[in-house]
Amino acid sequence: MSSMNEEQDKEAIRRTLRGETKAFEILVRKYQQSIMNYIGRMVRDREMAIDFTQDVFVRAYSSLRSFDPTHKFTTWLFRIASNLVIDHWRKKKIQALSISEPADEDRGPALDIPDNGPSVARKFELAELRRRIEKTLEQLPVSQRELFIWRHVNGLSYEEMAEIKNLPLGTVKNRVYQAKETIRRLLEESS
């Protein structure tokens, strides 16, 4: 199913490159929601997220000839989106330190499990928990937030994320675990 999906994307790309501009619209409609979900949660500003989502597709279109068909289109598209978001952070000089990887994360979290009574996750209803997670996302370092969103909102695999960010698989997994632990800690603190 996934391979058929990829084949459809590649066919749309081939048609676009042959001059059928309309074929690209299929790709825009197919992936606008995923890109919006990612960018919206990264920049936390709806209007900016809409502009950036458009820019991602315009950039993808302009450099479509450089797309390597041996890779997935979505991986390539998320890489463009990630570069755009990181450029935005750099220009704004916001959380500049968070963009780089935390120094010790490759060694993996060697945290002990805190045992402080009922978990915060069990204290809230699911809807309330989601609302609180959304709120704590903005406090996550960019490098963790991005991977957390890709994993849990966009449903990307660790392998896909490693390919997009050009990072070792273990680093990607650890960063997602770190993100979840940070969210859990922030929820504990705020409750």
């Binding site: 919006m36 989502t53 499990i113 978990s119 996750a121 849990h152 997994k173 859990r184």
Partner: protein
């Protein structure tokens, strides 16, 4: 077995542990309420994180994107084209140098110049000859056409219209007879 590390808990929740690790972990979870709670709390957190709602996309987003990209996908950038042309030229030059088998660059350039000069000289000679030939052919054709027209004019001036009609009819009849005769010969040839 000691209590689970955070990475092990998440790997456990995502079925990402090695099969040989599972018996020990399951045994430990049966004995350790602290680790069970830790897993349960993180499972709920993961479930909530994986069901965050989709953000609203404007209805006209695709249309806006398409309005910005109405022209076809741009071909290679100019700098890249220039780079490729430059690289190809260098490659060609390298090939000439390799094929020259140790001759100096000046000798190769001199040889190249000489070959080009001979080629240009021969081309000019052939062009001049072709022009002369075409001019002569044109003069001959012109003379023949003029003679034919003069002959026809003379004939029409000297003979009456009745005789002309008769001559044309005879000529036409002769041509038709010739055609039929050839056709018969060819048909007989096919038959045999």
């Amino acid at each position: 077995m000691s209590c689970l590390k955070v990475a092990e808990i998440y790997a456990y929740l995502e079925d990402d542990l090695l099969p040989e690790q599972m018996p020990d972990i399951n045994e430990h979870l049966g004995l350790c309420p602290k680790c069970r709670r830790a897993i349960e709390g993180r499972r709920r957190l993961t479930e909530a994180a994986s069901s965050l709602p989709a953000l609203e996309v404007p209805d006209d987003l695709a249309r806006r994107v398409m309005a910005k990209i109405s022209s076809p996908v741009p071909s290679l950038p100019v700098w890249l084209t220039a780079f490729i042309v430059g690289l190809s030229s260098l490659g060609l030059l390298s090939l000439i140098l390799i094929l020259s088998g140790g001759k100096s660059t000046m000798a190769i350039l001199a040889g190249f110049n000489h070959a080009v000069l001979i080629y240009v000289k021969n081309s000019i000679v052939w062009l001049a000859k072709a022009t002369t030939l075409l001019t002569s052919a044109w003069k001959i054709i012109q003379t023949l056409v003029l003679t034919l027209f003069k002959g026809i004019s003379l004939l029409t001036a000297l003979t009456s219209p009745g005789v002309l009609v008769l001559a044309l009819t005879v000529t036409l009849a002769a041509l038709i007879s010739l055609y039929l005769a050839f056709k018969k010969i060819l048909w007989q040839g096919e038959k045999t």
